[in-house]
């Protein structure tokens, strides 16, 4: 699931709880699911730095070399 999809799912859970229109057992499960999503999303936002590379084609061999613009 992508970050955006997780965020959408989390907001739906919050809306359901705030509405008060779900059964008690389901509310408990929803809250747990929401807590799990928060944790996953937090981890995703802590991802390491990505690379900047330029494509090099030497005699048909394609490589990515570090690129400083």
């Amino acid at each position: 699931m992508s970050y955006k999809e997780m965020e959408k799912e989390l907001e739906k859970i919050i809306a359901d709880l705030e509405s008060g229109e779900v059964e008690f057992e389901k509310a408990s499960a929803l809250f747990q699911k929401g807590a799990d999503l928060v944790k996953q999303m937090h981890n995703m936002l802590q991802a390491e730095k990505g690379k900047v590379a330029i494509i090099k084609n030497e005699l048909g061999k394609i490589t990515e070399e570090s690129f400083n613009a």
Binding site: Y3, L17, E18, H42, E64
Partner: protein
């Protein structure tokens, strides 16, 4: 002097013949700026000029050149004609076309119309950008501000995204081939989205992005592609074919990168809302429970009250009197008790009777047996001396 002079007619005719005989002047193309353009009785008249000269033009197919106007830089095709009667040279125009920028624009429109008819711009073919983008492929010049802008914007918003640059020329001869090659390369490479970008420039500068080669490459591409070519007001064939058009390279970079700072803020808010949400839910249910509880208690109290009232109301009807009831029971017990007392063997002995233990009939004893006799105040043992079987007179 008169012998060496020729007539006006002869001279004019001679001039006319010179023009008519010079094949080089047939359907010649002449470049200049239109001025004094007007149409009368279906004939267009204008002057074609440059900095140093002007040429009177006439076109008998006025409706074919009616869209031109003063100031247009054009190339006219025609033949100069000398009119003897008026002594004037006119350039008889057969066709007019825009020159320079105008020609490029015309070609752009023709290509655009052709590609549109082939379905290259259909909205239903536009692919959405992925919701999760981890690697971005950028087709652009490795030098200059454009690639730097894209890298800086993406890094500022989301440092985790990989940025892969496919270096190409972005103007001049052969640029469209390299651009098309870059698009095809990334279509089969590990990237989530492709950006095709170059900065602003003249129409000639942007020409590689207005070619069929680039249009075909984008049309065949299966990956989502963002076009960011030229200035905000420039629209190229590349823009029309792309899935998304960005007005500038920086905007393209924003489109492909989630802003992590904003996401973190939203996550903090949503986390708080989640906590508040469950508390709010519990509170709402507690309120409902308390309401039900109050209703039940009220209902039960009412039930009890009513039934007690019913009992009290009806106790007189059925003669219910607790004291009387208890008294009658006591009396019954007393009677039963006195009956029991009378049946007590001790009471019988008090009357003077004796009880011979284990002997109910004379058949139970024989002469010489020892028997025990019980009296009210004790007992003794005796021996049977004789047995008399006569009927008891008592």
């Amino acid at each position: 002097m008169e012998e060496r002079a020729i007539s006006v007619s002869k001279l004019s005719t001679y001039i006319k013949q010179i023009f008519e005989a010079e094949e080089l002047l047939f359907n010649i193309r002449v470049y200049g700026e239109i001025s004094g353009f007007q149409i009368r009785t279906g004939i267009a008249y204008f002057t074609l000029k440059d900095e140093n000269a002007s040429l009177s033009c006439v076109c008998f197919n006025a409706e074919e050149i009616s869209e031109f106007k003063n100031g247009d830089l054009v190339v006219v095709t025609g033949t100069p004609r000398y009119y003897v009667k008026g002594g004037k040279l006119n350039f008889q125009v057969s066709s007019v076309e825009l020159a320079g920028q105008g020609i490029l624009y015309q070609k752009f429109i023709e290509l655009k119309n052709r590609l549109e008819e082939k379905g290259y711009f259909l909205p239903e073919l536009k692919k959405p950008l992925p919701s999760q983008i981890n690697r971005v492929g950028v087709v652009t010049s490795p030098e200059g501000a454009v690639v730097q802008d894209i890298i800086n914007v993406i890094r500022r918003r989301n440092k985790s995204i990989d940025i892969i640059v496919f270096p190409t020329k972005v103007q001049g001869a052969g640029a469209e081939i390299e651009i098309a090659k870059g698009i095809s390369f990334f279509d089969n490479y590990d990237v989530d989205v492709i950006i095709v970008a170059r900065g602003g420039g003249s129409m000639e500068d942007l020409q590689p992005f207005n070619t069929e080669a680039v249009a075909d490459a984008i049309f065949r591409c299966n990956k989502p592609l963002v076009s960011a070519v030229g200035h905000e007001t420039d629209f190229t064939i590349c823009d029309f074919c792309a899935d998304v058009r960005a007005s500038t390279p920086s905007v393209a970079a924003e489109l492909v990168s989630l802003n992590v700072s904003e996401l973190k803020q939203r996550l903090i808010i949503n986390k708080e809302r989640l906590s508040q949400g469950i508390y709010k839910y519990i509170d709402s249910k507690t309120d409902v429970f308390n309401e039900y509880k109050a209703e039940i208690i009220d209902a039960y109290d009412w039930f009890l009250d009513d039934n007690i009232k019913l009992l009290l109301q009806n106790k007189d009807k059925f003669g219910f009197n607790s004291s009387y009831y208890l008294n009658s029971i006591e009396n019954k017990l007393t009677l039963l008790n006195s009956g029991l007392v009378k049946l007590n063997p001790s009471e019988i002995l008090k009357l003077g009777y004796a009880c011979v233990k284990n002997v109910n009939t004379i058949n139970d004893i024989r002469v010489g047996d020892s028997v025990e006799t019980i009296l009210v105040d004790g007992r003794f043992t005796s021996v049977v001396k004789s047995i008399n079987g006569e009927k008891n007179e008592l």
